[in-house]
């Protein structure tokens, strides 16, 4: 049982960043916010709601890429979570955080090997992380990247990826 579940999650679709095409424009952040808003309206989401982008743009000089949660198979953040707010869905493989149960202890932030979790920008005791836009089919950052620098796919058997 344990083995087959591992197989299943290994084959989940993940977001991969192609830094050679990333412009560092941060449109992924903008659309991430819109997609996680209540209004689902880009302008209102930014002007009237307080939403922390769930994607992090790392940059140094001309090189940049968008970093999101890798939805690790062993999910150290979920193991570290003291309230059980952070969970890895056994079916979809998506690691998500229930903000009702999150107490803002930041243990997951310390446990994350990728630095893909951040604190809420507006001072609330909750964290912000990518949920792969579970409700929308394709993550919003991927569909709105102007230069196809983000791809959403299952790894081929011979490709190396994050486990």
């Amino acid at each position: 049982m344990q083995e087959s579940r591992r197989e299943e999650t290994l084959r989940m679709k993940r977001i991969y960043a192609l830094e050679e095409h990333c412009l560092g424009c941060k449109l992924c952040e903008v659309y991430c916010v819109a997609s996680h808003s209540v209004s689902k309206d880009l302008v209102k989401a930014h002007k009237t709601e307080e939403i922390t982008p769930r994607v992090i743009i790392e940059s140094s000089g001309d090189t940049s890429f968008a970093l999101q949660c890798r939805h690790c198979d062993d999910a150290p953040c979920a193991r570290a979570c003291i309230t059980g707010a952070m969970q890895k869905d056994p079916v979809t493989g998506i690691v998500s955080c229930d903000s009702e149960r999150c107490v803002g202890c930041w243990t997951c932030i310390m446990a994350c090997p990728y630095g893909a979790i951040r604190r809420d920008k507006y001072g609330r005791s909750i964290i912000s992380k990518c949920d792969l836009c579970a409700e929308e089919g394709e993550p919003s950052c991927v569909s709105h990247c102007p230069n196809n620098a983000l791809i959403y796919k299952e790894l081929e058997a011979n490709e190396r990826g994050v486990e």
């Binding site: 449109l27 903008v30 659309y31 302008v43 001309d62 230069n147 196809n148 620098a149």
Partner: protein, 500 residues
Amino acid sequence: MSLTMKSPEFLIDRDDDRCINCQVCERQCANEVHYYDHDLSKMSAVDLNCVNCHRCVTLCPSKALRISKYPLEYKENYNWSAEMINNIFKQAETGGVLLTGMGNPSRKKIYWDHLLLNASQVTNPSIDPLREPMELKTFLGRKPERVEFNGEGNIVNLPPQLELGTPIMFSAMSFGSISLNASKSLARAASELNMMYNTGEGGLHQDLYQYGENTIVQVASGRFGVHKEYLNAGTAIEIKIGQGAKPGIGGHLPGEKVGEEVSRTRMIPQGTDALSPAPHHDIYSIEDLRQLIYALKEATVYAKPVSVKISAVHNVAAIASGIASAGADIIAVDGYRGGTGAAPTMIRDNVGIPIELALAAVDDRLREEGLRNQVSLVVGGSIRNSADIVKAIALGADAVYIGSAALIAMGCHLCQKCYTGKCNWGIATQRADLVKRLNPEIGVERLKNLVKGWSHEIKEMLGGMGINAIESLRGNRLMLRGIDLNPNELEILGIKHAGE
């Protein structure tokens, strides 16, 4: 100089109700137009820096940006337009030559728009290209005086030919004037579409040798990047004598664009200006040209057609006839609207003649002299749509070169600032952060879509005329009629007026 008289060309109009201060515009503008004003907590703009390339407008996620002409009226004067006055201000400040990019934008007659195509009605049936085969395949190169077959039924003694799936090729644009990502997009699109792209005078980057079958390698007056492997890497060789945007003058790639890759490809030191002389210093006559044509043929064992590209100038027909006699297999004529990465404005806007007239004159002259079968005729500068192509072929062209249209497909917005090297679309630049903006995967797709769309439209127009092969349209000027043209123009174009 203390006082500058420069005024902004464009006005940035930002809808604050829509702007979300995401600063995408700021990050995307190489001209440093947009900035976040921390005191006012909102975005602001330096209108003077704007070149109206639409990068910010296109990427603005909330569509908060509009750009308009700067509403600055000059005292009304038909003779001294604002443009003339501003040019003088600029030169009085700098003492320099006015520079510009892309093709001649001035208000002169566009002959394509005065040509009308025919269609079949009743007496001859039109053809539906979706139901019946329609041939666009085009062969460029010298055609033999007569066709001979061997025992197996194959043609023998056929001079080398370029085979094109559609009568379209990408014009010469050098790596240096455009980015490597733009060159890659053109090369890959050409190979996937079974057509040709042209290296321009930039040599061939090592990554592009793999597309050799779809490459025309250019030899121009600076001879940059020319060596034996280069000549043999392509399927044809083009000697560039002139370019429509700047007939009679050479090229100048500023040193700042000559980075490591460009330097290696062009075989010149990094950071040095790449100056192409105005003439080829070994060509002062048709006989000299013949020597170069045959030197190149010798270097490539007579396996590749040699093209000679000239600008459309006053005496173009006689020059073309000389080029045909000199042994060229293809003549490429570039009209005065042809694009460029950099040219003196006065030259671009005032030198040369329209390609439509040049094409008709050259085709007539070659026919009169019995030379037409010895050379293929390719025209460019500027072909804007598929109807222009059909008209060009009916006037006598074998195929067309598209340059500006291909760049526009990749994102160019014709801001005409190629010469600054700050192309926000990642096309006419060598700045690593800007080059990135053109993902070749996307560039290839967009180019392929354009050529596919145009090819489809060409088939539709051919079908409408009751023609099922592009060959049957070539030089078929009865398929054309003129509108709003005077008798002189009609005579040069060799067509009748609409209604006749």
